[in-house]
């Protein structure tokens, strides 16, 4: 009798443990998916801001038509991108085009003193930051999700219920990984 009761208790404890582990993995999976969606939200925001910015700076930067067109082309390519790898590549190209535009804008004092442009530029650089922070958060939470699936005994539950590891966001474009040129001359 005591043996039987003990057995029941043991089974209950094991079941409870399985439930807790399973729920933890499901929570982490949802957080990871949500983290991924947050990146998309910020990318969408950037797509919406760019036509605005280009229209505002067009008048001041007549001689930089090519750069402006490049930004618009990169933006349209990014909007049309399909699939994760493709999107990552196109968004990377857009980031490059935008940073060139911002670098050139430094040459136009009128442009920098325009309040509209200043606000738009703040919005865009904030969006750039948000994209990278959303990626950082996604990588952090996906790493936690992956670790939870790999450590013992979580790996038993993970393989039992067919949890898949999440891919981390990586910089694919080799150019982005290069250390940027540092200008050591003093600014002022």
């Amino acid at each position: 009798m005591t043996f039987f009761v003990g057995f029941i208790v043991l089974v209950m404890v094991v079941l409870l443990w399985v439930v807790v582990q399973y729920n933890r993995l499901v929570t982490l999976r949802n957080q990871t998916e949500n983290g991924w969606k947050q990146i998309d939200v910020q990318l969408k925001r950037r797509h919406d801001l760019i036509p605005n910015l280009v229209n505002t700076v067009k008048g001041y930067m007549e001689f930089e038509q090519e750069t402006l067109e490049k930004v618009i082309r990169a933006r349209n390519a990014a909007v049309a991108a399909t699939g994760v790898a493709d999107a990552a590549e196109k968004e990377g190209a857009l980031t490059g085009a935008l940073s060139r535009l911002f670098a050139l804008a430094e040459n136009y004092p009128n442009l920098k003193s325009n309040e509209n442009v200043r606000q738009l530029q703040e919005e865009l650089s904030s969006t750039e930051n948000k994209i990278s922070f959303a990626r950082q958060f996604y990588n952090d939470i996906a790493t936690r999700f992956n670790i939870a699936q790999q450590v013992f005994p979580g790996n038993i539950i993970a393989s039992l219920f067919g949890f898949q590891r999440s891919e981390l966001f990586e910089v694919h474009d080799a150019g982005e990984r290069e250390v940027p040129d540092v200008n050591l001359s003093l600014k002022k």
Binding site: Q31, G35, Q119, E122, S126, N129, K130, F133, F137
Partner: protein, 329 residues
Amino acid sequence: MAQLPRNIYEQQSANRRNTILVMALFILFFGFLGFGFDYFILGFWEEYPGGLHGTDFPFATAGALLFGTISAAWSLESGAKTVLSSAGAEPVVPGDPRYQQLSNVVDEMTIASGLPRPQLYIIPDPDPNAFATGKDPQHASVAVTQGLVDKLDRDELQGVIAHEMSHVRNYDIRTMTVVAALIGAVMLLSEYGLRMMRFGGGRKRSSSSRGGGVGSAIFLVVWLVAMLLAPLIARILAMAVSRQREYLADASGAELTRNPGALAAALKKIDDAVDPTRSIKKGTAHLCIADPLGGEANDREGFLADFFATHPPIARRITLLKAMAYQHV
């Protein structure tokens, strides 16, 4: 005295425990003050010659316990509101162009931390400082002074906001806000109690009416000292719970921005602005990123300074942050 920061999960559960501990201590302390009042002034359980006796219900004890419990519950629920309004903080209207950058930085740190977005407040004070308050991350507020917005650049602002978001994430805000609200209550009670005693003591010649001998006299001394020192004890408690958290918030803030150098630069600027932050009252000093007394209070080092400071010396915090950024000091 500086220990290494604990990890944030330990810190979160420690903060939940500490909040309950602080509230329990506070209620007990109130009960103790109330009981002394019953014993010495209302003449609880006292026998007089000729069948007269004092009150047979400990009114003051019961009242103090009730008041203590209500204040403790209240401090948790609306302590944040009190702290914000005592600093004169005003909510930032979304879309206000003056605070566009600040709002953006808060959005960025919200994304980086994965927490709900805190309410953003501005304190109209020219000295740079900032604090976070609230019951939990779902009901959190971050307040920064106008001076902080004016003096810091974008990256430094981000560092400060990340530091405050870490306080939110670690549940530091809960413990600190409850402590702030209870310090206020203790100060009020201590003042009120001492005034009542002058009034009551004169009427009853308190110690002589009590036949009680040495034990009673010792209790009277302890009670009086406790009442007199209550505000000081409460503040030392606040200092002790505050210091260790600053190192951890610096470190986990740097983890959010991945840019410890910017927070170090921000702390340097805050330290260089020697003026005190006048809007922030003494009872809420322990909430701030740097001691609102300003200047010298942030530069003291050594055991005594450690004991009486709400914040670790800024120089040491900057050194630790620079080490994280692999910069030579």
